[in-house]
Each structure stands twice: as structure tokens, then as C-alpha cells.
């Protein structure tokens, strides 16, 4: 038998002549040694089938919570089988711990508190919550609108220094990733399209495809999604942390509206920077497409002629108009989720997640609405 080297614990079990099971424990009964003894003891009890169990505990020189738990377990085990347990010679201090454990409140786990609700009640509650959320969204949009109008009428009251800082973080710092994603999207799309179009000898129409897809859809959409992941989440986390740290309350009691003070600079920054980033995404997207066409042997001038014939001014302008709205959505949703944060650190995480998820959904839905509007405007 291999015993744990770091703990000196000896455990012996034997059956006495009058049919009783006797355990003898010598040494330290602590959390590292008890596990083994526990299993050995239970095996011995299972084998012996003796109703009387005696533990000679006089050799226990140290006994912690796990040792006491073992003794309590043996006691309960014996009681459940109508057997008897006798513990002999347990030191007074350990005896006291043991007595504390077996007297007083029961040691069986309490059943989890379940709020039982009927199905109808659950549906009612869910509907109430949806309406409550909707109400919060409407009041936030109203507040934001009022604050934006106020900012337009009194531009000197806007916190321009904060706005510039946020614009830098949201716009300038996001430029590399927007450029990279825009370029690769253009490149990949052109590359994928060149093969099937080549089968019909129509490779030059890659320019049409890239022009329409990047300027109308992919440029604004990818930029907005990158911003939702980068800045929408950051806004939610920042404002959420401020909420948790009572800073939002402090603003309110100083008479500073959180919407005017925190949300307006972020919305203005997003409003300006999102279209700018979209312009960059559009340009590098087209560059990505042109690289593919160049590699297929078309000179650049051909690409541009084809692009000019395929794309009217409506496409880039329509894309930019969309990106204004995407910018507002990213900033407003991020801030709203941040301000709605409940208490606790996990609440900030929840706000961040829901900010990104809701703004991406809203961006895609808005994009769909714009597609319909543009369809009727231009056919």
C-alpha cells in the first residue's frame, strides 16, 4: 500500500472477536490525508457489514475540517443504517469541533429557492420587460434628440475637448484596421468574382461589381461593424463603469445631464468620423479590386473607365448618407447600454456585449431600410 509521503497518517481497520468493526487512526487527519482514509473506511464498512463501529481516535494528533467532516459522515452513515458509532479518545478540542458540527442546524443542503411562476405570469413579465425596455429606448432617443438640438443651438456648451479626444480614438486610431479590412474585402471579392466572370470572358466586369458592392454596401457596412466592435463596446464599458462607480449619479447631482455631458460628444465624434472612415474604406476597397485586375493584365486606366461607366455619383453618396446613420447608431447604442448598466462588474460585461450585438443588428436592419429607399429613389 502506498501512503502519501507528506502526511504521516496510519489507518487500520479490523473486525473484533465479537463482530464489531474497529478503526484506528494515528497521525494528522487533514485535507490532504483524509480523502484516502475516507475511501478506505467506506470500503471497510461495506465489506464488514457490522452494525457497530468503533473509532479509536486517541492517536489523532491533528484534525481539521475535513477530518471532522469524515467523522460526521461516518456518524450519519451509521445512523442511516441503524448502526452505532463510538468515537474513543478524541482530543477535547477536536471533540468540540465535532459537537459543533453535529448539533444545531442541519447539515443537509437547502433546496435552491425557486420562484415558481405560472406560464401566463412568465409571459406577462416578459412582455412587461419588453415594453419597459422600449420605453427606455424611446426616452433615451428623446433625451438625445433634445440634447443634440441644444448642442446645435448653443455649440459653445458642447465639450469640444472631450469630443476631439473621442474622435481621435474612434476615428484616427481605427484607420489602420478599417484600411486593412477594406482593402482585403475589395481584393478578395474581386479575386473570387474574376474566376466565374472569366469563364464568360467578362473579367472586366469585376470593376462594376467592386464599384457597386464596395461603395454602396461593403464600405459603409464594414466600417460600421468595425466601429461597433471597437468603439461601441468601449463607450458601453466606459459609461457602464462610470455608472457602477456612482460617477453618473455624481454628474446628475452636480446638475450635469449625463446625456448632454457624455453622450453628445460621443455621438458628434461618431457622426463626423464614421463617414470619413467610410471614404477611406471605399477608396482602399477599390484599390484592392484594381490590384486583382492589374494582375489579370488590365491596365489601371481601363479599370477606371469601367468604374466610371458603372458607378454613378449616387452610389458613394448613398453609402456616405448611410454611414452617418450607422455612426449615430454605434455611438448612441453604446452609450445607452452603458447608462443602463446595473450594479456589479459583470453588469459592465453584459452592457458591452449587448451594445455590440444591438448595434450590429440595428446597423444591418437600417441598411436594409436604406436599400428599399434607394431602390425607389433610383430604381
Amino acid at each position: 500500500m502506498v501512503s502519501a509521503p507528506q502526511t504521516s497518517l496510519q489507518f487500520r481497520s479490523e473486525i473484533t472477536r465479537d463482530g464489531r468493526l474497529e478503526f484506528k487512526v494515528i497521525g494528522r487527519l487533514d485535507s490532504t490525508s483524509t480523502g484516502k482514509v475516507w475511501r478506505q473506511a467506506m470500503e471497510a464498512i461495506g465489506r464488514a457489514k457490522a452494525s457497530q463501529l468503533i473509532i479509536d481516535a486517541s492517536g489523532i494528533e491533528y484534525c481539521d475540517g475535513s477530518g471532522i467532516a469524515w467523522l460526521v459522515h461516518l456518524r450519519r452513515h451509521q445512523a442511516a443504517r441503524d448502526g452505532q458509532l463510538e468515537i474513543r479518545g478524541l482530543h477535547a478540542e477536536f471533540q468540540e469541533l465535532f459537537n459543533d458540527a453535529v448539533t444545531g442546524d442541519s447539515l443537509s443542503p437547502t433546496a435552491p429557492v425557486e420562484e415558481r411562476r405560472s406560464f401566463t405570469e412568465q409571459i406577462g413579465k416578459a412582455v412587461c420587460e419588453i415594453f419597459h425596455d422600449l420605453g427606455a429606448v424611446i426616452s433615451f432617443v428623446g433625451e438625445l434628440f433634445v440634447a443634440m438640438v441644444y448642442a446645435a443651438r448653443q455649440p459653445r456648451r458642447v465639450r469640444w475637448r472631450d469630443t476631439l479626444k473621442i474622435a481621435e480614438a474612434l476615428g484616427v486610431d481605427a484607420l489602420p484596421i478599417v484600411l486593412l479590412i477594406g482593402f482585403l474585402m475589395g481584393l478578395i471579392m474581386a479575386f473570387q468574382a474574376a474566376v466565374p466572370l472569366g469563364q464568360f470572358g467578362a473579367q472586366i466586369f469585376v470593376a462594376n461589381l467592386i464599384g457597386l458592392a464596395v461603395l454602396r454596401e461593403l464600405g459603409p457596412l464594414m466600417t460600421a461593424i468595425v466601429l461597433a466592435g471597437r468603439s461601441g463596446s468601449a463607450f458601453a464599458a466606459e459609461l457602464g463603469t462610470m455608472k457602477v462607480r456612482e460617477e453618473i449619479d455624481a454628474l446628475k447631482t452636480m446638475g450635469l445631464e449625463p446625456v448632454r455631458f457624455l453622450v453628445v460628444p460621443r455621438v458628434i465624434a461618431a457622426l463626423v468620423m464614421t463617414p470619413l472612415l467610410t471614404v477611406f474604406a471605399d477608396l482602399v476597397g477599390l484599390m484592392g479590386g484594381s490590384v486583382v485586375l492589374l494582375s489579370l493584365g488590365f491596365p489601371l486606366i481601363t479599370f477606371f473607365h469601367q468604374l466610371q461607366s458603372a458607378v454613378s455619383y449616387g452610389s458613394p453618396v448613398g453609402g456616405l448618407v448611410k454611414s452617418f446613420f450607422f455612426g449615430i447608431i454605434v455611438a448612441a447604442v453604446g452609450c445607452m447600454r452603458g447608462l443602463q448598466t446595473k450594479s456589479g462588474a459583470s453588469a459592465v460585461g453584459e452592457s458591452t456585449t449587448s451594445a455590440v450585438v444591438s448595434s450590429i443588428i440595428l446597423i444591418v436592419v437600417t441598411d436594409g431600410i436604406f436599400s428599399v429607399i434607394y431602390y425607389y429613389l433610383w430604381v
Binding site: M242, E246, E247, D249, A250, K252, T253, M254, G255, L256
Partner: protein, 253 residues
Amino acid sequence: MAGESIIHVEDFTAAYDGTVILSQVNFDVYPGEVFVILGGSGCGKSTLLKHMIGLYKPARGKILIDGADVVAADRQERMDILRKFGVMYQSGALFGSMTLLDNVRLPLEEFTDLPPEAIRLIALMKLKQVGLAGFDNHLPSALSGGMQKRAAIARAMALDPRVLFLDEPSAGLDPITSAELDELIVSLARNLKMTFVIVSHELASIFAIADRVIMLDKKVKGIVATGKPRELREHSDNPWVRQFFLRQASLDG
């Protein structure tokens, strides 16, 4: 106590989601006194404070600060009321992205038309009053807990309000820092004749600073005792109150 009260709370009832936390609370705070709201955890001290400063609407009742009704105020009236008091939150709630000077300067910039150099001078004076001269260019994260709370007091008194509300000023501070903060509160109350409303459960600090206390209790959902802390300890007819002051565990468990 003689004279007009500066804060008047009448028939105040607070409830969250239909659960009543406090009911039928009535008290007055008089100008220049250090008034402590006291009680065990979860008895509604902070709830009462947050209602008094207008963050929550009470289920019923009236709260007047310097004669103005906090509950019924419209937007413009509310702005006027907000200028009558400053608040120090439990965590300090300094704006983490701003230096101490900017934190203290913020309310002055928003609410006054003082020239920038005047605002800067006032902000520096406030920081000096709380013993933080020379720390004006520090970010809150670079300061210890006690210094952050003092900076928060400086910000709360930027507009020289008549009343300062402090939520658990000694929470999270060691006894010495906590005692220093108590000294600051007492000296501000004496020298600037400011009224303090403080939520606390720190006995040592209560005896050091409080002119008068009200004691809230979870079971009663209201005030169980009002008076000077020493008198309550010695002579309260409520044994539970005496026990609280003598720091004994409750007899009924």
C-alpha cells in the same frame, strides 16, 4: 432646536418594486449642524440619502431643502436646488479621466460665468482647504482612498453649497485616515458654517463629528432614535439603541 430647518423631511416613504424600505420618516436638519443618519447594514440609510438628493422619487412624502421641494421640482427648479448642496459618494466618484483640478473646476465651469483664471484659483483654494494643495495635476487613480474622498469633498463644495451630503465617508479607510477625514469635516463645519448630512455606521467617527443623529432600523422601517450620540448611548429607553452604541450583538439574535 431653535430656528428654521434647512432640510425638512415629512411623511417620507421609500419603496423599490413595491417593497417598502422606509415608511413614515420625519425629521429636520438645522443650519450648521453635523447630522448623521445611522443604522445597521441594509436599513435604508443610503436609500434615504439618494432620495434626499433627488436621485430617486419617493413613494410618498415631502423633502424640502432650504425651502424648495425636491420631489415636486420641475427642471429649472431642480437646477436651482442642485446648487444648494454638494454630494460626496461612497466611492468618491471622481471622474477618472480628469485631474483633480479639472474635477473640482467642472461644476464652476458649468454653472458660473467666472473667468477661467478665477475658476482655477477657486478650485485650487478648495483643494487646499481639504489638504490637497500640490495634488491638482494628479489623476484620481494616483491617489490613496482617503485623498480621493477629500478631493471628492473639494468638488462637492466647489460652488459653496449650504449643505454637504456625505455617503459613508469612512468606508474603506483605515482608522487613522478616517479620523483625519473626521477632523476635516468638523473643521469645515466650524469654519465655513456648512451643514453636513452624513450617512455612516462607524461609531468612532459618529462620536467625533455628530451634533445629532437619527438611527434607522430595518425591522421598524423607520427612525428608532433621534438625539445626540452620547445621550442616546447613556439614556436611550430603547435597549437596542444602547446596544448599538455599546457595540454589543443584538440579544434576540
